[in-house]
């Protein structure tokens, strides 16, 4: 029995710039159930981070949430005043950012920063908060936490700082944790440690996780469900097995083909997606992938609806329409003929 935690409906975010409105997020709808780990993948400019910030109500001028609804546990968040928002942020929804160097106060001890958060959000006394901080640091895999809480951020390595950030985010026992590229700035061996932490969180039924990344390997290893974004829209959404073994959207297929295969020998030619992502100051009217898609047809100038393919699997592509041939049937490159 799954419990609906968060529903986003038709989110739209624009950044008002001198050159016009950059439509970073253009009608994004999805949901998160309690306890699940959902990956949002996309390239830079796909709108994945902006979507996360919109959920946290952290869009600041020149950016503006111009449309859509965010419902969390039956309550509409986007109508809340900032005062109420502060209670939700941290207590129920917490966020971890890419760069742990800039998110910690460099002149305060780690313990002090954690205790402050725990006391404010959970109303514990000084001593109880300290014990909780030690427990959390141990849980995220920091050895000797009793000594570590007396140290400053510069005495921690990048990976440890990121673990401290995750511990702080978890300290308020949020129902939803949003992690925006939490391992991108880290070395692979450190990344592996952080990913193990997320794998353990996946089994925790009290905390749902949205993991934003551009790395398909990270998604495959950690997430149960995946949302693929491109040009400010959701292209495909699927359970992780379906996404990697039965991808439907040409963009997802292209993305999977453009990374070197595991076990594939050297010099096996990569299959890139030609062209560049759309300019969101003036996006194409139909499918955002139309200019790079090997299957583009006349119909693609009109934006397709989300087609349901299977349980939890949807694709924003005309090829997913009932009477249309599937991508496999069309074959690579043949779809271009009717443009």
């Amino acid at each position: 029995m799954t419990e609906r935690l968060l529903t986003a409906r038709d989110l739209r975010v624009s950044f008002h710039t001198r050159d016009g409105d950059n439509q970073a997020v253009r009608g994004v709808s999805f949901h998160i159930d309690a306890g699940e780990t959902v990956g949002i993948v996309g390239e830079s400019g796909s709108g994945k981070s902006v979507t996360a910030r919109a959920i946290m109500s952290l869009i600041q001028p020149p950016g503006e949430l111009i449309g859509g609804e965010i419902e969390f546990r039956g309550e509409l968040l986007n109508e809340l005043p900032e005062r109420k928002w502060r209670k939700i942020r941290g207590n129920q929804i917490a966020m971890v950012f890419q760069d742990p160097m800039t998110s910690l106060n460099p002149v305060k001890k780690i313990g002090q920063q954690m205790i402050e958060v725990i006391r404010r959000h959970r109303g514990l006394g000084q001593e109880a908060a300290k014990q909780e901080a030690i427990r959390l640091l141990r849980e995220v895999g920091i050895s000797d936490p009793e000594r570590r809480i007396g140290q400053y951020p510069h005495e921690f390595s990048g990976g440890m700082r990121q673990r401290v950030m995750i511990a702080m985010a978890l300290s308020c026992q949020p129902e939803l944790l949003i992690a925006d590229e939490p391992t991108t700035a880290l070395d692979v061996t450190i990344q592996a440690q952080i990913l193990e932490l997320f794998k353990r969180l996946k089994d925790n039924p009290d905390t749902a996780v949205i993991l934003i990344t551009h790395d398909l390997g990270v998604v495959a290893q950690v997430c149960t469900r995946v949302i693929v974004m491109y040009g400010g829209m959701i292209m495909e959404e699927a359970p992780v097995e379906d996404l990697f073994y039965r991808p439907q959207h040409p963009y997802t297929i292209g993305l999977l083909r453009s990374v070197p295969k595991r076990g594939g020998g050297t010099r096996e030619r990569l299959v890139p997606i030609e062209g560049t992502p759309p300019d969101l100051l003036d996006p194409p009217p139909g499918c955002p992938f139309i200019t790079r898609c090997p299957h583009a047809m006349d119909k693609c100038k009109e934006l397709p609806p989300m087609f349901h393919i299977g349980p939890g699997h949807r694709s924003l592509c005309w090829l997913a329409e009932k009477d249309h041939p599937t991508v496999e049937e069309v074959g690579a490159g043949e779809g271009n003929t009717d443009v």
């Binding site: 070395d187 020998g265 050297t266």
Partner: protein
């Protein structure tokens, strides 16, 4: 090494060391030394791609910069096509400056924003006196087309291009003086996944067309395997393993290489990562030199 193998070597690095001073006392004497590169030896054969991998601080970029003589090295020697570059002054070095070119990670900071594409690509030609006068524009336009851009782009400025396009301009600039050897320092890590493959394929095509030799420095291990013929793994200023790339990935010998490879998240939800953890060697431990464990496979393991 046999004589033919000797002739096949384009870049020969012998016991290269580069130390930086970390702290100085009041008399300006160095009190603390950072051994970024501490005794590295390897050879790059003509026409091959040698990958150099390691984590931040391992010294891999410093090796690349030493080969470009952007740094003077502390000790050791670098021979290029049989010539010892170690002691050459700037004037004697100039012909080699043409033959050795570089492509850097960040296409946003490595191109002068005040120059248009024609000047950017033409600048190295100016310095080395290639394609004077009327030929210049034609040569630059031909190069632009070769890297997948258009003739119309000649008078545009870097800010008008995307990251992938800028990296193409950097590549055209490096190739403008017909080099033999290109040091590619993280050339794709700033690019989007779908654009990385475009640039990697192009680097491979250009290599075949112009007979280029690459040093490919990167931290993305799956891409390094894809592009490299041989790979060296660096750890704390030293090479701990050198082997053909398939051999290195299928049969790693050094515990650090094993840890590094097992940490790559596999883009397949059915394949679980079996992570191997290596705690590293103590700071003051004696570090064994590279030894040949199998033909062409070297590892720094204790006897």
């Amino acid at each position: 090494m046999s004589e033919t193998a000797e002739r096949n070597v384009l870049v020969d690095v012998r016991n290269l060391k580069k130390h930086f001073s970390k702290g100085k006392n009041v008399w300006g004497r160095t009190t603390e030394v950072l051994k970024a590169v501490d005794g590295v030896s390897f050879q790059i054969r003509r026409g091959e791609t040698f990958g150099l991998v390691g984590e931040s601080g391992s010294g891999k970029s410093t090796v690349g910069r030493c080969l470009l003589r952007l740094y003077d090295y502390t000790d050791g020697e670098v021979r290029f096509d049989g010539h010892d570059l170690t002691k050459l002054g700037e004037k004697a070095l100039k012909p080699f400056r043409r033959r050795i070119q570089s492509i850097f990670q960040d296409p946003y900071s490595s191109l002068n924003p005040g120059m248009n594409v024609l000047d950017l690509i033409g600048e190295p030609m100016n310095i080395h006196g290639l394609y004077p006068g009327e030929e210049r524009k034609e040569a630059v336009a031909a190069l632009l087309e070769r890297v997948g851009l258009k003739r119309e782009h000649l008078y545009r400025y870097p800010h008008e291009f995307s990251g992938g396009q800028r990296q193409r301009i950097s590549i055209a600039r490096a190739l403008s003086v017909r080099p033999d050897f290109v040091v590619c320092d993280e050339p794709i890590s700033a690019l989007d996944v779908s654009v990385q493959a475009q640039v990697v394929n192009m680097l491979e095509d250009l290599q075949a067309e112009f007979g280029l030799t690459y040093l490919f420095v990167a931290h993305d291990l799956s891409m390094v395997r894809h592009i490299s013929d041989r790979i060296g793994v660096m750890y704390r200023g030293r090479l701990v393993e050198v082997a053909d790339s398939d051999e290195l990935y299928d049969n790693p010998l050094h515990p650090y290489t094993k840890a590094l490879l097992s940490a790559i998240p596999i883009p397949d939800p059915r394949a679980a990562n079996a992570r191997i953890v290596w705690t590293g060697e103590p700071e003051d431990a004696e570090r064994p030199p590279l030894r040949e464990m199998a033909p062409g496979h070297y590892a720094a393991l204790p006897e």
